[in-house]
């Protein structure tokens, strides 16, 4: 039997229900920027659905394409394990807990968001979120910030959005094309 490369051979194939359960648990227990670490522990470590090389390969695809890293990983892993059905089960599972939580937050916010006490607490939460997303972004961006040319493209993108007030798609296409051209394949 030939297994698609990257999937560790298992006595029986993983079922769609099993994929949903594992990703539901991941969606309920993982947090923010650390979601990649949770995915690796679960998929490579605990369940052995992927080897480490495949995990890194899928992660690099996830990071290149638009979409959240966590949901892109869910789609790619689900698809490798069980095709389109697996991909749908994985993305639904990983999103469901957080989506339900935020739906309830939306409801509660509509009823109590105007209270001074709630407002004061959310003021603190917002400040903490700035610190949190900045730290996570720095961790993710560290690799790019190590190369001079890439630092230039990072800076150009920030300037495009904040100094020139260009729309994000314009920056994406403009600076993106420039950066891809810079890294273009060279004939040896």
């Amino acid at each position: 039997m030939t297994e698609p490369s990257g999937v560790t051979p298992r006595p029986s194939p993983v079922s769609v229900g099993e994929i949903f359960r594992v990703f539901l648990l991941l969606g309920a227990t993982s947090f923010g920027g650390g979601v990649v670490a949770y995915l690796r522990n679960s998929l490579v470590g605990r369940h052995r659905w992927l080897d480490d090389t495949s995990f890194v390969e899928l992660l690099s695809i996830s990071q290149t394409l638009p979409g959240l890293n966590a949901t892109n990983m869910a789609v790619l892993v689900g698809d490798r394990l069980r095709g389109t059905g697996g991909a749908i089960a994985a993305i639904c599972g990983i999103c469901l807990p957080g989506a339900l939580v935020m739906f309830v937050v939306g409801l509660l916010y509509g009823q109590h968001g105007g209270r001074p006490v709630v407002s004061a607490m959310l003021h603190g939460v917002a400040a903490a979120a700035v610190g949190l997303v900045s730290a996570v972004s720095l961790q993710i961006g560290r690799r790019s910030l190590g190369r001079l040319a890439d630092v230039g493209f990072v800076a150009l993108s920030i300037l495009g959005v904040h100094a020139l007030h260009l729309p994000v798609p314009a920056v994406l296409v403009g600076v993106g094309a420039l950066a891809i051209w810079w890294h273009r394949p060279r004939i040896p």
């Binding site: 979601v35 979409g67 937050v105 939460v125 993710i140 600076v175």
Partner: protein
């Protein structure tokens, strides 16, 4: 009810901008939901976005809260489908083609080129959020403290956020 098609178009569009993470789309999210469609105010968006960072799972599930605010349960579902669907399909298709693109020299160029741009867009998103959220010295102090602790320790960020809520409350009483 009539807002649902508009909601879906806006969030499908936003999802296509999330290179490097949800944060990359934040400036456009703010422009569209606050300035263009007036679905919520800037402080409301910042509040929901920030609480969303503490929710489990992928860090942009706060889009359902916007959908709920604008058009109830159906709005929440519509926004979620619109925000996840397009990129899920793109990822599914390109994920299957990826191996076949291995010999194509531009694959590596695209990957290396998009990386710094997405980092820049994510940092740009952080700046937008910071501009709206850091309104006083207490907020700035909280942000710096959380930033340092997250980088230096492995503490669960949710605890830090809860701590920040308490600090926010105390600061408002004084």
């Amino acid at each position: 009810m009539t807002r649902i098609p508009t909601l879906m178009m806006v969030f499908a569009y936003l999802s296509l901008l999330t290179f490097g993470g949800g944060m990359a789309a934040y400036p456009e999210l703010e422009t569209l939901t606050v300035d263009v469609y007036h679905w919520l105010t800037q402080p409301e968006l910042i509040h929901l976005y920030s609480v969303g960072q503490t929710a489990p799972g992928p860090n942009m599930m706060m889009v359902t809260a916007i959908g709920e605010r604008v058009a109830g349960a159906l709005g929440a579902l519509a926004v979620l489908v619109a925000f996840l669907g397009p990129t899920a399909v793109i990822t599914l298709v390109i994920g299957r083609l990826w191996r076949r693109l291995e010999g194509w020299p531009w694959r590596d160029a695209i990957q290396r080129g998009l990386e710094p741009v997405s980092v820049g867009l994510v940092i740009g998103g952080c700046i937008s959020l910071a501009r709206g959220a850091l309104t006083g010295w207490v907020a700035i102090a909280i942000a710096i403290a959380v930033f340092a602790v997250v980088l230096r320790t492995r503490i669960n960020p949710t605890l830090l956020v809860l701590g920040a809520a308490v600090v926010g409350l105390i600061a408002s009483v004084r």
